[in-house]
């Protein structure tokens, strides 16, 4: 057992850090103040990600045939840590490289791979994820958006909600129902967002501009070739995708670096001698490191090819706890810095922290998975 980084892992991290030092512009911290789904961050990602791709650092973990370098699972994760520590300059494109691309690689047709993977690997694709609906949030199986067969096409009707990045996305990874069978009636469609019949309404929110939307599908016609995977087999694909997504984001690293920033400001204000502040900083630090170790354990299992397990939900809950511990620490001891916006990473961190227990599978859903799969507690009978 070894809790330190190997030589090649450290070298890879140094490569990422060097790239960020040389390529992140001076005004990045200003751009990062806007939400990850904002026009500013999206446009920035379309300039920054191609440079990352050119340096071999956008999709290094993808197989070489799809533009990657065949980097290890750990190297992929180190890349994510450094990107998140820098405020995630990939903007919405982190989704493409973490789970949308790998899902298309595994389940897509040759045509879909050819159409979508090169653009994602070159840093030119913006996707949104059409999962949640007004009546199907955490209970995803209850989704109602329909896709009816019409000859060689499907006609999609319904609506999605809380859809991140939809305002500027060029494609949607859409879940829709082709039959009434619960899990077995759900299919995935890759839908161009400029298809007639799609309309998007931004939802003003606490989590950053341009981040969440409603998306309406009104007789949206897509060819049958837009379906990803076999009809009725979407649930196993979704499980695979969410398994990649749930621990794919090293949020604790952003929290940890934000905590460093908060402590630095408290030192500047000559408040670091306060024993209670130190105690609370220690609490928040422990929460970050607890999350880190549980996430690393999942990454380690993944690196050995182990199937996804409830361990990822244990880790997700710890990550949420860490996000909140750091945000609460900042709000308690440096509230003026939130009001005055005089530390550039604070508001973005806070916005991500308040969303982290909601997005990508709510915290309470993770606890339910832990209860049933890790603790093996009995199901609550349905009403």
């Amino acid at each position: 057992m070894d809790f330190s980084w190997s030589g090649p892992q450290s070298a890879f991290r140094a490569r990422v850090v060097d790239f960020l030092k040389s390529e992140l512009p001076d005004d990045w911290s200003e751009i990062a103040r806007h939400g990850p789904g904002s026009r500013q961050q999206t446009d920035f990602s379309l300039r920054f990600c191609p440079k990352l791709a050119e340096a071999g650092l956008l999709v290094p973990h993808w197989p070489k045939e799809f533009g990657g370098e065949g980097a290890t699972v750990w190297e992929h994760f180190i890349l994510g840590e450094e990107m998140w520590a820098a405020g995630e300059p990939r903007g919405p494109q982190y989704m493409n490289v973490n789970w949308i691309g790998p899902t298309i690689m595994r389940f897509g047709t040759d045509e879909q791979k050819e159409l979508h993977l090169p653009r994602a690997a070159q840093g030119q694709a913006i996707w949104c994820q059409g999962f949640s609906e007004p009546s199907a949030g955490s209970d995803l199986v209850s989704l109602r958006t329909s896709a009816e067969r019409d000859g060689d096409n499907f006609v999609i009707n319904g609506s999605k909600i809380w859809t991140s990045y939809a305002g500027l996305a060029d494609h949607c990874f859409l879940l829709a129902r082709t039959s009434g069978k619960r899990k077995d009636g759900i299919c995935i469609f890759i839908v161009p967002m400029d298809t007639p019949g799609i309309s998007v309404r931004p939802i003003p929110s606490l989590v950053g501009e341009g981040d969440i939307h409603e998306v309406f599908f009104n007789d949206v016609t897509v060819p049958a070739s837009a379906m990803l995977g076999e009809e009725g087999k979407a649930w196993s694909i979704i499980t695979y995708s969410l398994g990649n997504e749930r621990v794919g984001i090293p949020r604790y690293e952003f929290s940890r670096r934000t905590l460093d920033t908060l402590v630095a400001r408290l030192k500047e204000e000559d408040r670091w001698n306060d024993e209670y502040i130190r105690y609370r900083a220690g609490q928040a630090l422990c929460a970050c490191e607890a999350a880190r170790l549980l996430v690393y354990r999942v990454v380690d299992e993944r690196s050995r090819g182990a199937p996804p397990s409830a361990e990822s939900s244990l880790a997700r809950f710890a990550v949420i706890t860490a996000d909140h511990a750091v945000s609460n620490f900042g709000l308690e001891f440096l509230p003026d810095s939130y009001s005055n916006d005089d530390i550039s990473s604070l508001k973005p961190h806070h916005e991500r922290a308040i969303a982290s227990g909601i997005a990508s599978g709510a915290a309470e859903i993770q606890l339910g998975i832990v209860a049933q799969s890790y603790l093996e507690l009995p199901w609550e009978p349905r009403a």
């Binding site: 220690g282 609490q283 361990e311």
Partner: protein, 308 residues
């Protein structure tokens, strides 16, 4: 990074599980004692060498961490943590069981009544003293451990000898506490988990209520993190990791124990059910070496030193 348990450790833990299962099968019925010491098992563990793993090249500190966590997760009380870390790595020639005293060396401490050596941890040095006939006075049981204090701390101090640098022993004690506390909390969690699976109220298992499930799941996430923080501290040898592991677990303990006792109901108040064997050890371990408040302040100072 490599979280895989080495083959040798797996074999060691497999053998330990067998010994613990045997001890459980032959254990005497609960006699209503609030504190106790599983002396025969303690001797068997020593004889088989399980408590020496940290100092052996083929095993090392990770094996010691897993041994302590495994033993502590069972409803037995043996002196495993101090021996596995402090004795194995700082005073290997001293007889065990080992008790530890800090401050003025006049407080009651666990295992002192059954110990053959006591470590007196001062500011700069760790001293050790062999325990003789009338050195200790047993105290009224409150915690599940056997507790005693020194009859004459000054006399014991006068007989003692310096055995190690205080910083090393303090770090090893923090790791020992973290490993023991993570094992104790895990044992308590799974004991309560088993209970709520089987105990039926309102026509269904208690464990099927979401309110119960989610709080136990929160406990599980915290305990799993503590378990790995303790292992990292054992392996890395870093003081920052040691104070972090101990502080994180000590800080989390009261919330976890509240939930576990809540879900066990009145049964958890009895000496028939073994929950107290874990919870009343945890209630003592939270104060070790200054408790969470000291560890969390210390970890902050190490992570963000004044001069940085």
């Amino acid at each position: 990074m490599n979280f895989a348990v080495p083959e040798e450790c797996n074999a060691l833990i497999g053998a330990l599980e067998k010994l613990l299962a045997q001890a459980e099968a032959t254990a005497q019925a609960v006699d209503g004692s609030r504190s106790f010491f599983t002396g025969a098992l303690d001797a068997a563990l020593e004889e088989a060498g399980f408590l020496d793993a940290a100092g052996l090249e083929e095993f090392g500190p990770i094996a010691a961490a897993m041994v302590v966590q495994e033993i502590s997760s069972k409803p037995v009380i043996v002196e495993a943590a101090h021996s596995s870390f402090v004795r194995a790595l700082a005073l290997p020639d001293w007889p065990r069981p080992i008790a530890v005293l800090t401050g003025k060396f006049d407080q009651a401490t666990r295992f002192l009544g059954v110990a053959r050596s006591v470590v007196l941890l001062g500011e700069n040095h760790a001293r050790a003293c062999r325990i003789e006939g009338k050195d200790t006075i047993a105290t009224e049981p409150f915690f599940a451990y056997p507790m005693a204090r020194l009859a004459d701390p000054a006399a014991c101090l006068a007989r003692s000898e310096v055995v190690s640098d205080a910083a090393l022993v303090r770090r090893l004690l923090l790791v020992a506490t973290a490993c023991e506390l993570s094992g104790v909390l895990k044992g308590a969690l799974f004991s309560v988990n088993e209970y709520v699976k089987n105990r039926r109220q309102f026509g269904r298992a208690l464990g099927s209520f979401q309110a119960v499930q989610h709080r136990l799941a929160m406990c599980a996430s915290t305990i799993a993190a503590g378990e790995w923080l303790a292992r990292r501290a054992a392996v890395s040898g870093s003081m920052e990791d040691a104070v972090m592991a101990a502080g994180y677990l000590q800080e989390s303990t009261s919330r976890i124990l509240y939930d576990l006792h809540q879900f066990m109901g009145a049964m958890g108040l009895t000496l028939e059910h073994p929950l107290y064997r874990w919870s009343y050890r945890a209630k003592l371990l939270v104060s070790d070496l200054g408790g969470a408040s000291r560890q969390l302040r210390d970890v902050a100072v190490i992570a963000w030193p004044e001069t940085a």
